[in-house]
Symmetry: C2
Subunit: 488 residues, 2 copies
């Protein structure tokens, strides 16, 4: 920001209560000057202040001159963080100072930890969540796309669930703009970015992304390509040691990216279940309320769809297997996973109604029609081609792991339980998401009747060793629990 900078020895500066980023007043002989203080641990000797040439040349300061140094102000952000820790309500200016200093790297990880701690220990009002969202959206890249810009967001935790890849071409075909950015898997066997990458590259410069949208009304790219709400990454890093994400932080993080992307209509998919991020309905309703409150302040029309998560959505787990599911739905394949199609069509229908493309009650039918007519697949082909993939790919041409092992039912019965956590674990053992061709295909769903020797699931791996690992794990873990029909 053009301010003068002085460099202090960290240990010494801390003793004098100077923080990195403080504005200090330097005085020597009859002159004075304000500057920002930054730290070094080695380059400056005790009792010395480091100056850059711009200062010592301009002000004729000589080595050996005695400089006097006084703290004029501590970063507003530190004061604001303490204030929040002590339970006070923060203003927009305070929230913005925190986020600004996080983005400008003026706060250390330890200082950011104090901020994250406040969201565990203190209540945030709706107004504060709005301020925080606004500050996070404003301190990064902003998209301003022509047309009616819409989006959908799934709160993570549910395997499969590649609804975005089905919805994007349906929505774009309706004339709305859907600039979908997605993440890679963190602890799951596949994120939407990992799955889309099986079909086409997902890392593109912003100029290309804008071109995709101009030519095709949509994209499916990795979120890291677009620098939306960059404070989020640093906050996430500071909160990782705890292994728990405060829900307020999650809501703000999602909404700030939507605001920065200029979204006007938004559908949020909120799977609820004991192993999901949202464990029960009470919390789901509170999260819904907050999403709606923040959306309203930004003029975003949002609908939250709460659903019970009992089993994965789709048949495949792992990037290539999930990509095949998506293609099967878009290409109307006879083996397409009906649950993925239904959920995608339902979410797309809501979004069409929300954005006024379809009358209330007719969105789903419209989405289904776009899908069935082949319009959605046409749109997806263009998307794949624009992003640099092979647009002629057929679902059954998706390459899967060369090593394959099928598992069969040991008796007649009914599938009573599918263990989502075990599925994730086995899929990761098989190599997903780094080994894109690895994963699990589920032949049966909850409630399905099975007969002895029916195939229940198939494992795919790229190496024998990984397959062996998974097989061994399966000796102790049941992905499927089949109740014998004699007892059921």
């Amino acid at each position: 920001d053009g301010a003068y900078v002085v460099v202090l020895r960290e240990s010494e500066a801390r003793n004098f209560g100077v923080q990195s980023g403080d504005t200090v007043e330097l005085r020597w002989r009859r002159r004075k000057l304000n500057a920002r203080a930054y730290f070094t641990s080695s380059k400056v000797h005790p009792g010395e202040v480091g100056l850059y040439r711009d200062i010592w040349e301009k002000f004729n300061i000589r080595t050996g001159d005695i400089l006097q140094l006084r703290v004029l102000s501590r970063p507003e952000s530190i004061k604001a963080i303490i204030s929040k820790l002590l339970g006070h309500t923060l203003s927009y200016a305070e929230m913005r100072s925190i986020i600004r200093d996080i983005v400008d790297r003026r706060l250390t990880r330890s200082e950011i930890s104090y901020f994250v701690a406040s969201s565990f220990a203190r209540h945030y009002s709706d107004a504060e969540l709005y301020y925080l969202t606004k500050a996070m959206a404003e301190t990064g890249q902003r998209l301003s796309l022509p047309g009616v810009v819409v989006d959908k967001h799934s709160v993570g935790g549910l395997s499969g669930n590649r609804t975005s890849m089905v919805m994007v071409p349906i929505i774009a075909a309706s004339g709305l703009i859907m600039p979908k950015t997605s993440s890679r898997a963190v602890t799951s066997p596949a994120g939407t970015a990992d799955t889309m990458e099986v079909l086409a590259p997902v890392e593109h410069p912003l100029s290309s992304i804008k071109k995709f949208i101009r030519q095709n009304k949509c994209c499916l790219v990795w979120g890291g390509s677009v620098d939306l709400a960059p404070a989020d990454d640093r906050i996430i890093r500071a909160s990782q040691p705890l292994g728990v994400e405060p829900l307020n932080k999650m809501i703000v993080s999602i909404m700030s990216k939507k605001v920065a992307a200029g979204i006007k209509y938004l559908v949020i998919d909120l799977p609820v279940g004991p192993k999901m991020k949202i464990p029960n309905m009470k919390i789901a309703w509170e999260v819904e309320r907050k999403f709606l409150a923040i959306s309203k302040r930004f003029g975003i029309k949002t609908k939250v769809l709460i659903s019970e998560a009992k089993e994965p959505v789709g048949r495949g787990i792992g990037p290539a297997l999930e990509a095949r599911d998506v293609l099967r739905v878009l290409q109307g394949h006879e083996l397409r996973p009906v649950d993925l199609e239904k959920k995608s069509v339902r979410l797309a229908g809501e979004l069409l109604e929300l954005a006024g493309k379809a009358r209330r009650g007719s969105g789903q039918a419209m989405a289904q029609k776009i899908l069935d007519s082949g319009e959605a697949w046409k749109r997806m082909k263009k998307l794949i081609a624009l992003q640099g993939g092979d647009a002629e790919i057929r679902a059954d041409e998706v390459v899967l792991g060369a090593i394959k092992k099928r598992f069969f039912a040991k008796r007649n019965g009914i599938v009573k339980r599918i263990d989502d956590t075990a599925i994730d674990e086995i899929a990761r053992m098989l190599g997903a998401p780094n080994e894109k061709l690895a994963g699990i295909h589920l032949h049966k769903r909850l409630g399905n009747a099975v007969r002895k020797d029916d195939p229940i699931f198939t494992l795919y791996a790229q190496s024998r060793d990984r397959m062996k690992l998974a097989e061994k794990a399966l000796l102790k873990t049941n992905i499927f629990t089949v109740y014998s029909t004699r007892h059921g």
Copy 2:
């Protein structure tokens, strides 16, 4: 602790939710092994696990083997920190896990920040403060000295106030054991360790300290020499960015060191004033209550003496000037600072009564007698000699800064205000505490009548440049405010 250790790539480990220090289970071929996971950012490639020779030799693991890794347990300490942040009450085992992991460097600065944050944002019960104190005392060095061990602690913030150096020889002369450890100045112009260092070295190995006490019943050493409650240092470092110390943290930090030192009787000097750590009486009473509650649980008899802090104690500010004050009191010099003598005698008297050396109401007289008889000075001489200083030093032989400048009253009047903050600032400008001979001597006290041209204070420095700085600062800052007697 003898556990096997595996080294993981930090970025990868974080993705899998593995924390530094987690216990993980390694499985390969038909074997398994538990180990602690630690991080590196460079030495291990993605997808690899680093093993030390002790593991791969013993278990015959070959490069290329596939290892499977599962988190068995997250450090209890992290769970406990989250629990406290969420407002729960912690048990002794939980507190101890946190402090243990801080001492063993299993928690990063950022993780410790979350713990410090909890003491800003959450209530700590007396039991929790006790647990914390106990855990901090138990995870470091412990002294166990023969005899009745006593101590005195001044809660910082008041200039001068070198009562410890007067009290220690008085108390030791009475037959009690007083193993005084002190800190160096952090933001003030002198700490007791800095001042004592003018007379003798203060950094000694524990074995020497024990010898001093065996031979002379006392010592005056730097606290860093004795590793009492080592968690404290790391906690302080994590809380520095905020520039504010939670009072609970301060109380626990003081008490844990007293417990580790085996103190049985304790007097706490609590100066209260707008610029002190304890700003008002209400807070002082709450702090007193907590000191007493914790002391009681450890069987320590403690007395807290609350006093109003309006001006520095003693005449000198800066290590050498403060050392001269102490010697003048101990040697019965005609120019000795009476306030320092009175306060020291009062505190010593309380301690003598508390420890049963004097009857109630007669402690002060006893302390005064030990001082007046020269017994205290004899004890101090031996202390100086044992710690390696010149025991024959006379108060007026203390060397002061060679450059000296006296300031005079401009009119007749009464001293109405002495600005403690300005005194500290000017003393630091003059070079204290690093330049031990620099500082300020006050010729007048609050309420003293002054006549035009009376000396009011004298500055001492080791360099002309620093003297000039201070003089210039004094053009704008008043250390003394003298009200003209004509108006008052």
